[in-house]
């Protein structure tokens, strides 16, 4: 199954994103992402089933968690 990654920021922000999504019964993993394209160094994000991408973005947006970049 295809996986998508949302670049979030610090590990705490990524954990918060996971916590918010888990409350909506969406399973995600926190992952470290080094090369995000903006070349600022280490960053954390969440990885999930690509089929959930729209839901994930909607829920995070509602919780005011910024997705810096989506990798599909």
């Amino acid at each position: 199954m295809a996986r998508a990654r949302a670049v979030i920021g610090s590990v705490t922000s990524a954990m918060r994103a996971r916590s918010v999504l888990e409350r909506e019964v969406i399973r995600v993993d926190v992952v470290k992402i080094t090369d995000t394209g903006d070349r600022r160094g280490c960053v954390y994000g969440i990885e999930f089933s690509d089929t959930q991408t729209e839901n994930v973005l909607r829920i995070l947006n509602r919780s005011r968690i910024t997705v810096k970049r989506l990798i599909r």
Binding site: S10, V11, T12, M15, V30, K32, G41, C42, V43, Y44
Partner: protein, 393 residues
Amino acid sequence: MIYFDNAATSFPKPNAVSDEVYKCITQYCGNPGRAGHRMSIAAAEKVYECREMAAELFGLGDPTGVIFTLNTTHALNIAIKGCMHRGGHVIISDMEHNSVYRVIRKYADAGFIRYDIFDSGVLHTDRSAERICASISSLVRPETELIICTHASNVCSAVMPIKEIGDLCGRINAERARSGGVRICFIVDGAASAGHVPINMASMGINALALPSHKGLYGPQGCGILLLRGLKPDTLIEGGNGVRSLEPDMGDELPERYEAGTVATPAIAGLCEGMRYVRSIGISRIAEHEAALYSQTLRLIGSLPYVQVYGASHVGATLLFNMKGLEADDVGMRLDRYGICVRSGYHCAPLAHRTLHTPPGGAVRLSFGIYNTPRQVIALYEALKRIADEAYR
């Protein structure tokens, strides 16, 4: 052994705390927020769980505002130094610990800021929140940017009207928002109140709250918490925080902006279980238990003609006393011979001792916790009577 020094550090700890520290060290103590492997992520999960727990317990809401520090003093230093500006004015209470007083004095003595001390009315029979707020209001100047107040005294059980002071800051800030004045930040030292007195940052109008792990929250030493609400102070220390590593600054993202270097994961894991334990009992129930011990102690030792209790009308977890003609340290050492642990001296709070009019040498502090019992209070009473027999014969 009878332990009445819980205000210095609580003892014993709940089994869940020591079990979790051991589990962390042996099973998941990777470096949180530094790598992507399972040990690092597992550690980060526990650290985040602790942030969520603290945010909920202290009415912050957003766990990203929970910053782990070395201890309460470190947390206060971040909040105070990060919010002060040259020429600014600071107001503190007359019951502050050196973790506030020395910071302020250093900058005031260097001419960087000015400060005033408000009268918290600890010994006034007509003490009221209105009177305390009036005392603060009379000291506010256009350049006042910080009001710093301990929540509960660390030497006696006096509690400050934090909600009313927070409301006062809110009213001043609303007025200043209209006139373009400097915003006042309200910083609270919760070292002696966390786990003993309910705290809700949102409803109390607190901007920064500094807490210890190892006192009323029953966690290990080596960790403190700074909770920030609508406040982003300058950083106190800089270094690696695991994010944006190619950038030359700490960034704006909370909480990592203030967490340079590796956090104390085992201590945080233990603190998480300590807070869970406190929450399971309920802070109000803990307060009732400690107040009952205080009242019993006051009734017993207050009846001894050679005992003087300071601030006796403030019922809570801490009781300060002296025995006539004996140095506080002498009483402390004699009690230790009876297997009773107390703390004597000035308790790092010279302002509070001055306010309470204790003599040179300070006083003896009893501080209660969850595990203390009425039987232990009776043992203390009997020990004091024996000490008096030895000393006054």
